[in-house]
Amino acid sequence: SNPPVAPEISSSVALDFVLIGRTSAFLLLHQARAERFFRSDHTNNWAVLVCTSRFWFNYRHVANTLSVYRSVKRLGIPDSHIVLMLADDMACNHRNPKPATVFSHKNMELNVYGDDVEVDYRGYEVTVENFLRVLTGRLPPSTPRSKRLLSDDHSNILIYLTGHGGNGFLKFQDSEEISNVELADAFEQMWQKRRYNELLFIIDTCQGASMYERFYSPNLMALASSQVGEDSLSHQPDLAIGVHLMDRYTFYLLEFLEDIHPASQANMNDLFKVCPKSQCVSTPGHRTDLFQRDPGSVLITDFFGSVRKVEITMETINLTPHTETALAYVDQLPVAQIIHQKPKQKDWHPPDGFILGLWTLILLVFFRTYGIKHLKHIF
């Protein structure tokens, strides 16, 4: 049945008047919400986690990256917002005594590989070129969505690099290297296109502090596991697997992150205290001069987790129910018209009555020939 027309108009008028009267109340509510909105400027989170080494003896770098991946997923960033670059030759390596696993703790306590890991760039795809393409966005048009960093001007990005490095460079897969100047230029290009709101850069390599020396774009915060001239050391070897399982800095970073849950209020100053020299042997460093907010007001979950800003929907639009003619079955086309099939092969039968007439003819001819007197023997 058609609903009457009048209610639509009256409701719209009511809306008008309510709009006038509600502006003041609306502003108050908006104020309170605005306060929560502006604690930080970001609306989504991305993470780019790169392990730059391959080969079995660099097991710890893959375990580092996968552990950070697990923490970041646990705190809420979905796979669609994580770009994971690994050589991925650990879990199925011939030397792995427990295939399909990558452990990050001795005595094989924690398998960080699991069965739901999504590696976006694996094997020989982890190159300096691909890394810079992901950061700057200059990917060929055929690249799928999962391999792109689709951040906007309100995205907070976490970038984690681990591998072998030196003074001013980081080695990629034993064949090429990225220099700190290239990295700084890549970040500047990201800033020019406003591809990030704030960026946290963590690097766990030898002489890691040299990699953030050349940054010059705003809103960057950087952490490194060792200063120039120092080596980052690994944590514990596992005698069953035969290699070192993790690096010290990342191990203590993960211990710190285990205490963080999506609603926690821990801030960046706590992160800077992770792994002092007594535990790490190297001196971790950080750089905050390019960052506009005070690190004490930046929550860990601003980068490692994904806490969404949420607003209640106050206004709705009144829509009249739409009465459309539903397609009744009787209106539908017969199946034979929809599905065109070849006609079935039927056996050919002679026309109706033909056989009856044929036998009548035969009988008549018989009686004609041999005389009608035989008819009484039949009937």
Partner: protein, 612 residues
């Protein structure tokens, strides 16, 4: 491989042995982490010296008999030939070799319109709105009417008998809309007399669904006041109307937020800009129905018809702004990540405003998206709570129920909770067939969609009444507002892209600029200038088209895969490459040239001495 014993101490066979080691073990003994190839040999260094004595050495020249120094003696023509050969080679190298090397190591850089790009840096935007002001009968005194030029006078009468006041207003607005043709971006203001009964008493301005506004003139027609004075008196009110209907300072600064210094825009406009998606050539909208309890609820939603009826009209109207692709899905056994609390006073389960932020993440992993495009995705989720947790209501900060039972997240989408516990009693046979009332659902989704797309919910100034858009989704003047801010945003983004690209290409001297990039840049600059010109002229639709062209061309140029800056060579690496190639070649040439030069000098000195 020769058949000699691997330990034969001749240098060539030592190299061969390293080859053999690699063949056998499969890996060269190598120190990892070092850049220079390490000379990792089997024998310690002192043993190498001994090889020099073991090797037989062939004497090249006969041993001199006595302590006589033997020197090759060349005759004069031979010397001359030698000298001319050396000079010829040097000439060839300098005349042909150096230009050839320069040309072949040059990077191809197509020409960019640098002058026009530098003009873009100091871009000044002028936005012009066409306003038509129509005075109704009774607003102007006869003398003022006489002052109005005859060509502008128009007698139009409209009569209607309307039953209720509110109906009258809408009908009047609709009829006025048919009187004049309004182009995109223009505004028509009708001035009606103060005593008119069309508008209620406390309403000063009524803004209709199309681009018309009814303004109650508060200027008493003073005898002797001329037309300019009347217009001047109406100016502030008209400006208020225009700021509501077209754009105001906050809108423009919000559109330019990322190009301006922080602190220039108000917090409200900043919240609006954070909520709405940035300008993009396309958007993907996904409607999902989440059914965590298929055993009890069998849900039917006629989403295709609902989309046709409610959402597609809005999207068709927004076609000049962007392309939209819409899809829908049903997810079973998808739960919210938060446990709702049971509230006995309301006898319902409640979700507080604080816990809403944690609802989205667990669900997002299951939503999926179109892998082929990189357009931003808007998700609209309809969640029907399971029978154990029904009914589920959302509470805001003040612990009050929310009428729409829905919430949205900026730049992501919205979630609505639809309770179905009223549709069945306790002892029905499960699963229950439930048809979802799509008009209620789409009403909520439509308002959330409007917010996400950039139709702001700015409050109207006092005395204003803004007609709600209703069924069509968006009023024409609201669309015009969006078009103004989008054009400005597109122009700003495109000019920023082009200028930063030009800067980047200037700074890095050895990036290759292909022809297609130069073409994109040129077309972007042309489109930008056209857009600015159209904005100045007031043609909003054309301006938006040009700005879209400009932004797509500039994005394609900036994000072209060939512009990869992988070409940072520190100076010592450049030397390391060129010296082994050129030094062995240049040193003999230079030395022979020097020798020739010295001989010529000597010859000249001898000549001078002979003369003297």
């Amino acid at each position: 491989m020769t058949a000699r014993h691997p330990r034969t101490p001749a240098p060539l066979l030592v190299i061969g042995q390293r080859f053999l080691t690699q063949l056998l073990i499969g890996q060269r003994p190598r120190r990892t982490g070092s850049l220079w190839p390490s000379f990792h040999s089997r024998w310690p260094r002192w043993k190498w010296v001994s090889f020099l004595f073991i090797l037989p050495r062939r004497r090249r020249s006969p041993r001199p008999q006595s302590g006589m120094k033997v020197r090759p003696v060349l005759s004069d023509p031979e010397k001359q030939r030698g000298r001319s050969a050396a000079v010829a080679i040097a000439a060839l190298v300098i005349a042909a070799g150096i230009p050839l090397w320069w040309k072949t190591t040059e990077t191809y850089r197509a020409w960019l319109p640098a002058a026009r790009i530098s003009e873009l840096e100091a871009l000044q935007l002028e936005l012009r709105v066409e306003v038509e002001v129509v005075f109704a009968r009774g607003t102007l005194s006869p003398e003022q009417q006489k002052k109005v030029p005859a060509s502008r006078m128009r007698e139009q009468t409209y009569e209607s008998c309307c039953k209720s006041k509110s109906l009258c207003l809408v009908e009047a607005d609709h009829a006025l809309h048919t009187l004049t043709e309004t182009s995109c971006g223009s505004v028509v203001i009708y001035i009606i007399p103060e005593a008119s009964a069309l508008l209620p008493q406390d309403m000063r301005v009524y803004v209709g669904r199309s681009r018309t506004a009814l303004l109650r003139s508060q200027v008493a027609s003073v005898v002797g006041a001329g037309l300019p004075e009347v217009l001047a008196a109406l100016d502030p009110q008209m400006e208020q109307v225009l700021q509501t209907m077209s754009f105001n300072h906050q809108d423009v600064t919000a559109a330019l937020t990322d190009r301006l210094r922080p602190g220039l825009s108000t917090r409200d406009s900043l919240a609006d800009s954070m909520r709405a998606f940035k300008s993009s050539p396309g958007y993907e909208i996904t409607f999902s129905l989440l059914n965590p309890d298929p055993k009890h609820h069998q849900l039917h939603w006629d989403v295709e018809a609902a989309l046709d009826a409610y959402i597609y009209p809005l999207l068709h109207k927004m076609a000049p702004v962007a392309n939209f692709s819409v899809d829908s899905q049903i997810l079973y056994y998808a739960v919210l990540g938060v446990n709702p609390r049971y509230d006995a006073s309301a006898s319902a389960y409640t979700l507080s405003a604080d816990s809403l932020a944690h609802v989205i993440n667990p669900v997002e992993a299951r939503l999926g998206s179109n892998a082929a495009s990189s357009n931003p995705v808007l998700n609209f989720l309809l969640y029907v709570p399971d029978s154990l947790h029904s009914p589920l209501i959302i509470r805001n900060d003040q612990k009050q129920e929310v009428a729409s039972n829905a919430f949205h997240s900026p730049r992501w989408g919205g979630i609505m909770v639809y309770n179905v516990d009223g549709a069945y009693g306790n002892d029905t046979q499960f699963p229950v067939d439930i048809a979802i009332d799509m008009s209620r659902v789409m009403g909520v989704f439509l308002s959330q969609l409007r917010l996400m797309l950039g139709f702001q919910q700015t409050g109207a100034p006092p005395g204003f009444v803004l007609e709600a858009a209703g069924r069509e989704g968006v009023a024409e003047w609201e669309l015009d507002r969006l078009l103004w801010s989008r054009s400005v945003e597109n122009v700003a983004t495109a000019s920023a892209s082009i200028t930063s690209l030009a800067q980047l290409l200037d700074q890095i001297a050895n990036i290759v600029i292909n022809d297609n990039i130069a073409q994109q840049v040129a077309s972007a600059v042309t489109a930008l200038q056209a857009a600015v010109a159209e904005l100045e002229a007031g043609n909003l639709a054309l301006a938006l088209e040009h700005s879209r062209e400009a932004i797509s061309a500039s994005e394609r140029a900036f994000f072209d895969p060939s512009l990869l800056h992988l070409l940072y060579f520190p100076d010592d690496q450049k030397f390391a490459i060129y010296i082994p190639l050129f030094l062995p070649m240049c040193v003999p040439i230079l030395l022979s040239l020097l020798k020739i030069f010295r001989e010529v000098q000597q010859h000249r000195a001898e000549k001078r001495a002979k003369r003297d």
